[in-house]
């Protein structure tokens, strides 16, 4: 338990990390380091994106499954680790 907290703190303290959001499988944020409105927005949009991505991956090969998703944009990078029970989302701007 304490390890989880420690690891979360470590990630949060890395350079350029803007926020960490953890949402459950229904899209409801469990834990977040961002403000509420941003969290809800990220959660809703990324939930759908992950569903679509997973569906795509599995359509191509049903024995395959999605393990990690990175979205690199101009301003930052969104990294999503999906699981059946939760999504772990980290937003980072590496050039900060």
């Amino acid at each position: 338990m304490a390890e989880v907290e420690e690891t979360l703190k470590r990630i949060q303290s890395q350079k350029g990390v803007q926020g960490i959001i953890i949402i459950n499988a229904e899209g409801i944020p469990i834990k977040s380091t961002l403000d509420n409105s941003s969290t809800v927005q990220y959660a809703g949009l990324l939930h759908q994106l992950v569903m679509k991505t997973r569906s795509t991956v599995r359509d191509l090969d049903p024995q395959n499954d999605l393990t990690f998703l990175r979205v690199r944009s101009k301003k930052n990078e969104i990294m999503i680790a999906p699981d059946k029970d939760y999504f772990l989302i980290v937003i980072q701007n590496p050039s900060d």
Partner: protein, 795 residues
């Protein structure tokens, strides 16, 4: 007239008319010969008459009519009896068919169906009655065309009879069945019964004769004449007195509007997208979750879900493995978006459960690595000798381009000065303040580095620490092991990449399995009676090529410690060690002479053994090893002899801290000691080939470069020196000073890259990239040239 012609033209078959209804028949015939349009009315009237007759018939039912019973006989021209055989022969035991007046009308037409009809009516009277007869008549006549003669009527009426036959036969059969019931005795059963298979009579259920006749048939002429007569009739119809137009008016029923009101039917669109993975999941029916999501909309579906959730996972998945959303038609709010993910509806796992699950922790670690990779991408790329990716969107454009330009310059410029470029350093809050005592790379995974922290001195002892760092996470070690006492030696096993042997200051040796997350060692020699009694200065896994007495070929752990023993540890049931060598004091000639008498007394020296500080096995022959002692001697020993040294190299004046064979040249080794010298030896010579005396302080560590035969690194307290023998044998090529206040303690080359790791007393392991521009070859020949030339010059 027509009637007569009709009569005359018809095939002469006299019909014996019954007495009564003759008039009726003639009129019927007359009427029948009218045009077809009237046929219905005619028939209607006829049927009405038949009804009336039927009505009468009811009254007269009981009294069977004798004359009607008489079978009608049809005779040919020649008087031949061509009476059609009855298809139905009533059983004498059967109920005598009753006559009804309806039959009279039909008798007149000449068909011998009186019997049939009587019985038929008898049986079916109640149910069929009027409508049946009418329908029969109508059906038979409607289907006709202009044929409206008696003959046709005969045929027509025969139809219903034929239709009736089926019914009759059925009823007949029923009756018969009831009669035939013998008591079934055994005899009867055993009796041989002859079964005759015969073809049943053909039952004609529907016969619609053709309305057109072939031109060549016999009747063709008659038909033609009749047709002609009909057309003539039609012409004559206009203005003819015989034909009267008559109109009828029927009552129109009052229309009534009826309204019905129902509850509005809520319609719901349901759609399926049969995706590839959906089909696969359904087929495999495994616990592959993540297939279908049923949104918790209505109570009913919730109940279902809860109930199903209590069942096994597999069944649950099977239930849900359809991507079809079933909406119950209640008007509760429903999410219309198509969710295609399976979630147990009773509860999404509680947040705490998620947060503290194992999987989450793993994901977090992966995420951490990803984040760090983003940050350290340039450094890691340099480490791995990959081109550094330029971030196209970064805001620090001028800086980046500046860096890359410099690097491009460096790589392009061949005669650029060799330099050490700092990349990063492994450090974290745990290691700050600790002294790095040893480092070792994992033999199987070259990205994994184990670093041992512990003080060398006897005072100031903290507990030891071993951290396994991964190149993927530069900020936090992957594994942390706390040890009781300071860690002084480390080695990863070559055969089993997860085993890490740790030698400690209190003489105990422990092995850890770095794969598992356990913090405790697998084996620990602290309880062992024969353990080392002094700090273990070096441990090494050595693969046994020659199988010894009981041992199999495998790996053995060899350790040297300050109690003067070199032990080989074997892990059978318990940890067992075999002394490979006991390092005894060997005094030089000079000291012996000097001591003289005192020497005899000093033979009873308490401490016979001399602390061994380092050893190294020959890279090719695992039986031979070198060991350095505190006395300054280097002994070449063999595993087979544990009493005597093969050779002794006596040159150093102080304790020999490190010995290392050259990885390229099999006979060459380096040694360094606290007498400020590094010496290059060849195995067969008792004198060093080269002596390097550049550093003005004790040399703690020396290591050959794994890539170039002429390069080695040297660590003194305050400096790191990189020597390139090809460039100069008098001066180091690169000199790097330590950070102020920090002492350097250990050195390690990276095997897959051009980098050097430098450990210091502050707990930092710095990674530096070495740019020597030496080219591709290993430069072995250069080294050997140098040695040869030096030897030659010495002679």
């Amino acid at each position: 007239m027509t009637q007569k012609t009709a009569r005359s033209k018809k095939p002469s078959s006299k019909v014996a008319p019954s007495s009564r209804a003759t008039n009726v028949s003639t009129s019927g015939f007359l009427r029948v010969s009218h045009s077809r349009t009237h046929s219905r009315s005619i028939n209607a009237s006829m049927s009405r008459r038949s009804f009336s007759l039927a009505g009468d018939g009811r009254v007269l039912e009981k009294a069977p009519m004798q004359p009607a019973r008489a079978t009608v006989k049809v005779f040919d021209e020649n008087g031949t009896d061509v009476t059609p055989q009855p298809l139905y022969r009533p059983d004498p035991a059967a109920v005598p068919p009753r006559q009804s007046k309806i039959l009279m009308a039909q008798d007149v037409s000449g068909a011998t169906f009186s019997d049939f009809f009587s019985s038929a009516f008898h049986t079916t009277y109640a149910s069929f009655g009027g409508p049946f007869t009418r329908s029969l008549f109508e059906s038979s006549i409607v289907s006709k065309s202009s044929q409206s003669t008696m003959e046709s009527l005969n045929e027509e009426i025969e139809e219903p009879s034929s239709k009736r036959e089926g019914i009759i036969s059925l009823s007949d059969v029923q009756v018969r069945r009831e009669e035939v019931k013998e008591p079934t005795t055994e005899d009867v059963l055993n009796k041989k019964v002859d079964i005759h298979l015969t073809e049943t009579e053909t039952l004609c259920l529907l016969d619609i004769p053709a309305t057109s006749v072939s031109v060549e048939s016999e009747e063709a002429e008659i038909v033609k004449q009749r047709n002609a007569a009909y057309t003539e009739l039609c012409k004559n119809r206009m203005g003819n007195d015989k034909y009267v137009e008559r109109a009828m008016q029927t009552f129109n029923g009052a229309p009534k509007a009826k309204e019905v009101q129902t509850k509005s039917i809520t319609k719901v669109d349901a759609a399926i997208t049969a995706t590839n993975w959906d089909i696969y999941d359904t087929l495999s029916g495994t616990g592959v979750e993540g297939v279908v999501r049923e949104p918790p909309e209505t109570e009913e579906s919730n109940l279902l879900d809860i109930m199903s959730n209590h069942s096994q996972e597999s069944s649950r998945n099977l239930e849900r493995s359809m991507s079809f959303l079933s909406h119950t038609p209640s008007s509760s709010s429903s999410r219309t978006e198509m969710e295609v993910f399976l979630v147990p509806v009773e509860d999404a796992p509680a947040p705490e459960v998620i947060l503290y699950s194992e999987k989450f922790q793993q994901d977090l670690l992966v995420m951490e690595k990803v984040v760090l990779q983003n940050i350290f991408q340039p450094k890691l790329a340099a480490y791995r000798q990959l081109p550094i990716l330029k971030d196209p969107d970064s805001t620090q454009k001028p800086k980046d381009t500046g860096k890359t330009e410099k690097q491009i310059q460096k790589t392009e410029d061949i005669p650029s000065s060799p330099a050490l470029e700092p990349l990063w350093s492994f450090t974290c809050e745990l290691t700050v303040g600790r002294n790095v005592s040893s480092m070792t790379w994992n033999k199987m995974n070259p990205d994994l580095l184990a670093v041992g922290y512990g003080h060398f001195d006897f005072e100031d002892q903290k507990s030891g620490l071993v951290c396994c760092w991964s190149l993927k996470n530069l900020k936090w070690p992957d594994r942390i092991f706390h040890c009781e006492s300071a860690v002084t030696a480390l080695d990863f096993s070559g055969h089993n990449g997860c085993l890490l042997a740790v030698g400690m200051h209190n003489g105990s040796i422990a092995t850890y399995n770095v794969q598992s997350k356990e913090k405790t060692p697998i084996t620990d020699s602290s309880e062992y009676p024969h353990k080392h009694t002094g700090p273990v200065w070096q441990v090494k896994w050595v693969s046994q090529e020659r199988a010894h007495s009981e041992e199999e070929k495998g790996e053995a752990l060899v350790s040297v410690s300050a109690d003067g023993r070199i032990c080989k540890w074997v892990l059978k049931k318990d940890l067992d060690c075999v002394d490979l060598m006991k390092l005894k004091r060997t005094k030089s000639e000079r000291t012996r002479r000097q001591l003289g008498e005192r020497e005899r007394r000093s033979e009873l020296v308490i401490w016979r053994e001399v602390p061994g500080l380092c050893f190294d096995f020959h890279p090719e022959d695992s039986n031979i090893y070198l060991t350095g002692t505190e006395e300054g001697f280097i002994h070449k020993c063999s595993c087979s002899y544990n009493e005597q040294y093969l050779e002794t190299y006596k040159e150093h004046k102080g304790p020999v801290y490190q010995i290392t064979w050259s990885p390229f040249s099999p006979d060459v080794f380096l040694s360094c000691s606290s007498d400020w010298t590094i010496q290059l030896w060849r195995q067969d010579l008792l004198e060093p080939v080269l002596v390097f005396t550049s550093p003005c302080m004790a040399v703690f560590d020396v290591a050959w470069s794994p890539k170039w035969a002429t390069v080695f690194g040297v660590v003194t307290e305050k400096r790191l020196e990189i020597w390139d023998l090809g460039a100069s044998i008098l001066d180091p090529t690169i000199v790097q000073d330590a950070r102020p206040g920090v002492k350097l303690t250990s050195l390690q080359f990276a095997s897959e890259s051009d980098c050097i790791l430098l450990g210091d007393s502050d707990g930092q392991v710095g990674v530096y990239q070495l740019n020597l521009n030496l080219g591709e070859g290993t430069q072995v020949d250069v080294l050997e040239d140098i040695i040869r030339s030096t030897l030659a010059s010495q002679l």
